[in-house]
Structure formats: C-alpha cells, structure tokens
Symmetry: C2
Subunit: 124 residues, 2 copies
Amino acid sequence: MSQYEHTCMIRGDGGRTIRAVLDRICDKWTLLIVVTLDQGRLRFSDLHRRIPGISQRMLTLSLKNLERDGLVSRTAYAEVPPRVEYALTPMGQSLIPPALALAGWATEHIAEIEASRAAYAERM
Amino acid sequence: MSQYEHTCMIRGDGGRTIRAVLDRICDKWTLLIVVTLDQGRLRFSDLHRRIPGISQRMLTLSLKNLERDGLVSRTAYAEVPPRVEYALTPMGQSLIPPALALAGWATEHIAEIEASRAAYAERM
DNA sequence: CAGAATCCGGCTTGATACTG
DNA sequence: CAGTATCAAGCCGGATTCTG
C-alpha cells in the first residue's frame, strides 16, 4: 500500500479535512504571504513590495483572512502616518516547515514539470 | 531572520517559482488526487469513489493536467468495458512527502483554525 | 466504464478611484 | 501609509447530457 503509514489517517474522512485547509491556504496568495512573513514582522507596504504582482486589494483580503484564522497577528500603531505590522502567530509559524517543504519541492521540480508540459504540447 | 536558512533561495525570485507550482497543484482537487493515488494504481471509477464530492468533469480535467505535467501516468487497456488505470510517476511520488506534511499540519490545526474563526465571528 | 461536450452561475481577482 | 469601495471580467467548477 502506501509507503507512508499515517496516510490512512489523513484520508480517513475522505479528504474532507485536507480539503478544508486547502480551501483556506491554497488560494492565489495566502501561502506566499505566510512564507514571506517568515522573514519576520513586516509592514503592509513591505509585504506589498516583497510579493510582486499582488494587488493592494488581494493583500488586504488575504491578510484579513489569515488574521481571522489565527495564522497572522496584526498590530496597528497610533501614529501619523499610520504604521501596521504583521507577524506570524505560533500557529502560523508551525505552517512554515510544511510550506517550505512544498516550496522546496517546487523549486526542485519546476523544470521537470515545464519539460513535461512542453513535450505534451509537442505531441498535440 | 528566518529560522530556516534556505528560505531565501525559495524567495529569491520574488516567489515566482512557488507561485508557478502553486498555480498547478493548488486548485481544488489536484493535491487530493495525488495523495489518493499514493494508495496505488487506481481506476477512474475508483478515484471517483474515493474522492467524495468531485465531479466527473473535474476528475477528468485534473487527471489530464497531472498527466501533462508528468505527475501521473495513464494506462488504457483495450477491453470492453474499457479500463483505465492511473498511477503516480516517480515525480508524482516525490510530491507525496511534502503533500503529507501539509495534510498532517491540516489535521493537527483544523480545530484551532475553526476556533479562531468562531472567535472572530463572535467579535463582529 | 471512462470519458467528451455543452451550458451557465458565481466566486475570485484585478483595475481604478477614493479616504482617514 | 494603509487601507476601503465599487465595478467588471474571467475563470473555475457543477449539473446535465451524450458517446465509443
């Protein structure tokens, strides 16, 4: 069967648990924001700069969802101009190792995937 | 800085690599299909049964994309009624550990996330 | 059994403009 | 600076029907 015995536990509910979390962190930006915040406490504009391509709107929404889910903490300072800092909560930090595992796999296999894609397109 | 030194490598391109792979495996069903196929070689109808909630259409499309990307192999037998089996390629199998890491995190923290969500909704 | 084809509603996302 | 508000587009995904 599986080469990883605890798989059955994860599939025990027919994938509902993994689907529930996938629905939360597997949108377009969330996981990338979490990995970026592993660099430490960052301001809104810092995040915006470090994540190329994300819109203000999406950064706002994603951060709000992450805060609601308890993965990110938001700290607003009563200053002018306003300053808001975001940081990973302990639970958010616990997501870093699996997230990096996936990211590591990504960097290792992206070329092979692209090659497979190209070969597939060639055959058409 | 980061507690995981190789993070900088992953973020080196501004997250473009991780985004490229996220775009591929982080749709609604792909990762779940991969994890399910870790059980071994499965027929189309088997997959359909083992993944509750997925439509025929989405299973077909996801499998086609996985095959194109070189993560899944498809074997059709010339029989009536037709039989088609799907299995992970070596690259597909290499995705299992990171995928399970994420799935494991999911099962461990889903309750805490739900609690945080509930508390958040309460405050509103 | 294992799909392919079609239709279509809705959610996600992006662009833009505005504000405390 | 750190958002909010509004709008429109596009893609995702579900339901259904049909086929070799």
